[in-house]
């Protein structure tokens, strides 16, 4: 077994800054539904989860990578130590932090649950997928299941006795979920016989729990084609009466990363004996129900991206402070100049600050979304207009969180390897694993192309475009209030230009929709998703910088806080001056919309 050493690192100061100084979670604490929660408790929970991540899951990250999973006698064996970590995780209760008390949870604010998830995912992405997907599946049953289903399935899935999966993908139904051919035949007693093949199923089998509850998208005989004809089924590996349920793992994939997570091919009903129950009582609701899980999981993937990128940054930072190479550029004429740590070189500092600003930006974006969820929970059933506002912002931000954070995660990891130099390419250091692990984030839970089309095709125009208008209006208001801030003038001016660029591009998409130029939309959607993400993050980081500037001006800070706030200020300035301006260029490219990729003939790409 590879030596179990923890490499996971983060700085919890940023978490309490975002929660309590920037997004003011305390506004909703101490009252229903968060009556048991205050600032100190949130911070304590995060620090204890971090302890857990460093001591339990973190040391198993490389172990899982090198050992991977094995399929023996039709059963998946997970890497050494995973079983023990699973037990400890559920004993500690971290996985059900945000779950309702009736299921053993603590009704934690979503934002605290989300940031805890960052700590768990960052310490061991592959391991955390097993309990992560299980929780998502349990929440679907808790929301849409019958009372009997809730009673039977949810508690054991929440307390770690059983695992859970989401089964959408099939050999011919990847991005195009609607092509699924898995069939469900009513037996007559309310249950269905399921038959079909699902591929790429994360945690499709494992040895961590007594049973696994699969949520399977399938088509009831005679239902219409496409996504509308799909229904969602609860298909246990072992039936509740203890008999096996004709679900076979026929193989597991050998992958680039997340090797500790078993990616399975599942055969349902090979012997015609696979029994499933419909989630709830109404047929053909599968996509709507699965969307609940998909939204949860999409945010979860964004968190994975943030989590891995953050640890890649902190590891690169540590290495850059330690590794001595070359002399200071200020001594360029002096051959005898002392060797310096590479963090002294301006280009290395630039790479570090770029990573820092992106990581903090992603965390701010995710925390903003999560605090919208908490504010929504606080007014649910009391203030419909407020609920609609928060829900609208959550819907709009979800594709940004999924796609921007997953794309940037890989890039941050790549930069981290570059900062290390040759050492970064070696298995002796953690960053090469981070790069391999993070590549999947832009693919699963809907590729980033699909996310971008969700953004421009559905989200921008949702509610007659109201959510987008409100969102852009809030940024405009912020700019108006801060355009004369002495520290930030150039930065705010950049944000203003980016704001205009994004607004213009929204109109451009509208024009393409109206004139039916659909290929243009598909060509430019991902670029636009990144533009909007950069605008949002530029705004959130600058907003954080104004808070930091005020603290610095007030003075009386500990050395640690002094450094922290200075860091916040420079993250924002770097992002606003180096990354936000890209939005302006992107808008020009978008408007010009070069259609070469559509015009070029298939043959011209190269010989077959």
């Amino acid at each position: 077994m590879a030596q179990p050493i923890n490499r996971y690192k983060t700085d919890l100061r940023d978490y309490s800054f975002l929660l309590f100084e920037q997004f003011k979670l305390q506004d909703v604490l101490g009252a229903e539904p968060f009556s048991d929660w205050d600032e100190e408790t949130c911070n304590t929970v995060l620090s204890q989860v971090y302890e857990f991540a460093k001591t339990v899951t973190g040391p198993l990250n490389r172990v899982g990578d090198t050992q991977g999973c094995r399929l023996e006698d039709g059963r998946v064996i997970t890497p050494e130590g995973f079983k023990d970590a699973w037990k400890k995780l559920y004993d500690a209760g971290w996985r059900v932090l945000g779950a309702p008390a009736e299921y053993g949870g603590m009704d934690a604010p979503t934002s605290v649950a989300v940031l805890s998830d960052e700590l768990l995912s960052g310490s061991n992405t592959a391991f955390n997928m097993y309990p992560g997907l299980c929780l998502g599946a349990a929440e679907v049953i808790a929301e849409f299941g019958t009372d009997a289903q809730k009673k039977t399935y949810v508690p054991p899935m929440m307390n770690g006795k059983w695992g859970g999966t989401m089964c959408l993908s099939e050999p011919h139904a990847g991005s195009d979920v609607g092509s699924a051919t898995t069939m469900a035949a009513p037996v007559g007693d309310g249950t269905y016989k399921i038959r079909g093949t699902k591929i790429f199923i994360s945690g499709g089998d494992h040895d961590l729990a007594d049973n696994i509850i699969h949520l399977v998208l399938a088509r009831i005989e005679g239902a219409s084609a496409g996504t509308k004809g799909l229904s969602l089924f609860i298909v246990p590996k072992v039936r509740v009466d203890g008999t096996p349920n004709d679900v076979q793992v026929t193989s597991i994939e050998h992958k680039m990363g997340i090797n500790g997570s078993a990616t399975c091919v599942l055969e349902f009903g090979e012997k015609g004996e696979c029994v499933g129950e419909l989630v709830g009582t109404v047929e053909h609701q599968g996509m709507r129900q699965m969307f609940k899980l998909m939204n949860f999981a999409r945010i979860g993937v964004g968190i994975q991206g943030l989590a891995v990128a953050s640890s890649a940054y902190f590891n690169a930072l540590e290495y850059a402070r330690d590794r001595k190479q070359g002399s200071s550029i200020k001594e360029w004429k002096n051959a005898e100049a002392p060797r310096v740590a590479i963090i002294e070189h301006p280009n290395v500092r630039r790479d570090l600050l770029m990573m820092k600003s992106k990581v903090e930006g992603m965390r701010a974006l995710i925390t903003k979304l999560a605090v919208h969820q908490d504010r929504l929970r606080a007014v649910e059933g009391k203030d419909d207009a407020s609920v609609a506002y928060h829900q609208g912002q959550i819907d709009l931000l979800t594709p940004l969180v999924k796609a921007y954070c997953s794309d940037e995660a890989y890039r941050v990891c790549e930069t981290a390897i570059q900062v290390y130099g040759g050492a970064g390419y070696l298995k002796d250091w953690p960053v090469e694993q981070y790069a391999r692990d993070s590549k999947i984030f832009s693919i699963y839970e809907g590729t980033n192309a699909i996310q971008a089309m969700d953004l421009v095709g559905r989200k921008l125009g949702q509610g007659g475009g109201k959510n987008t208008q409100t969102f852009l209006g809030e940024i405009q208001k912020w700019i108006a209030a801060h355009k004369d801030d002495a520290d930030l003038t150039d930065a705010v001016a950049n944000l203003q230009k980016a704001h205009e660029a994004v607004g213009g591009s929204v109109m451009q998409f509208l024009g393409w929709f109206q004139s039916g130029q659909m290929p243009n939309i598909v060509l430019m959607a991902e670029r636009f998703l990144h533009m909007m993400s950069k605008l949002t993050i530029g705004w959130l980081l600058l907003d954080g910088a104004t808070i930091a500037a005020q603290k610095l001006a007030e003075g009386g800070l500990s050395a640690r806080d002094q450094a922290f706030y200075e860091g916040k200020k420079y993250s924002a300035l770097y992002y606003a001056k180096n990354i936000v301006p890209e939005v302006i260029g992107d808008a020009k490219t978008l408007r010009a919309c070069d259609v070469s990729p559509v015009q070029i003939s298939d043959e011209a790409f190269g010989p077959a």
């Binding site: 048991d36 100190e40 408790t41 304590t44 001591t55 050395a559 450094a563």
Partner: protein
């Protein structure tokens, strides 16, 4: 059984490189605070003494006490999050304390709380003085046993059988409570504590690099509602006298940080003899 566990917060030993000294004082600016690891061992021992580990129930009471500024409350809550029932914070400045002051204050807390046992760290990770426990026992007129590696209670909980691992072998002692006991890290191994409640075949998990168990969500939430008394020295009726006077601090000389890889064990032995002259 009621156990008093004194707990000190210390600057995180992992950040020792950030410590600054100014004349006769160590600056605490910018340091992160953690529970003194040696106190964590005692806390873990106290938890094992006062629970039924297999039924996951508490059978006794632990009072954690800390002397320090208001912020030391976090350390007490952390200990309560691991399972301790109550907390007592005695107001004090980190820099105004020495082992003598600490022992005098703790003696008053013991008088007030009347525990069956005081379990404390053998030393603190910052001062490394190794005195407070012995001094406290002296003030109380109680027996003291340092560096306990095993603790077993009699059926009535009054008599304790304690093992100490010494260079010359293992010493076994029987002591009639109340007593002051300090622990060695051996106490964290499975099977070192027998309290007559936890089944003898119960296996505590290996703590690995941890100095005490991790807290869980339920305990953290519960800890918020556990009682925590804040006392001033006046409340305890004590005016402690400091006997140590710190005249200066210096940071250790930086290490060269050079590592050399040798080809063989023989070469290592030779270097240890001829260059390092330690063999």
């Amino acid at each position: 059984m009621k156990v008093l566990v004194p707990i000190k917060r210390v600057a995180d030993p992992a950040n020792a490189n950030k410590v600054k000294v100014a004349g006769s004082e160590v600056s605490h600016d910018g340091l992160e605070w953690v529970m003194n690891p040696f106190d964590e061992w005692s806390l873990e021992a106290a938890l094992r003494l006062t629970e039924d580990a297999s039924a996951k129930t508490r059978t006794g009471e632990i009072v954690v006490v800390s002397i320090g500024p208001k912020a030391a409350v976090d350390t007490l809550r952390e200990a309560m999050g691991k399972g301790a029932e109550r907390g007592v914070l005695v107001d004090g400045e980190d820099t105004a304390l020495d082992s003598n002051v600490v022992a005098q204050i703790l003696a008053k807390v013991v008088e007030k709380e009347q525990p069956d046992l005081v379990l404390m760290g053998k030393q603190s990770a910052d001062g490394d003085s190794n005195i407070a426990g012995t001094k406290l026992a002296e003030l109380l007129g109680w027996p003291v046993i340092n560096y306990a590696s095993h603790i077993e209670t009699s059926d009535d909980g009054k008599t304790l059988t304690i093992k100490r691992e010494l260079d010359v072998g293992v010493q076994t002692l029987k002591v009639q409570g109340p007593a002051v006991i300090t622990c060695s890290d051996r106490i964290l191994k499975p099977g070192t504590i027998k309290n007559g409640v936890t089944p003898a075949d119960f296996e505590y998990p290996d703590l690995g690099d941890l100095n005490s168990r991790l807290s869980n969500l339920k305990n953290i939430m519960a800890a918020r509602k556990k009682p925590l008394d804040e006392l001033g020295l006046g409340d305890l009726g004590v005016e402690p006298v400091r006997v140590d006077e710190y005249v200066g601090f210096e940071l250790p000389a930086g290490r060269s940080g050079q590592a050399q890889f040798l080809e063989s064990v023989d070469e290592l032995v030779q270097k240890l003899q001829s260059e390092a002259k330690v063999l």
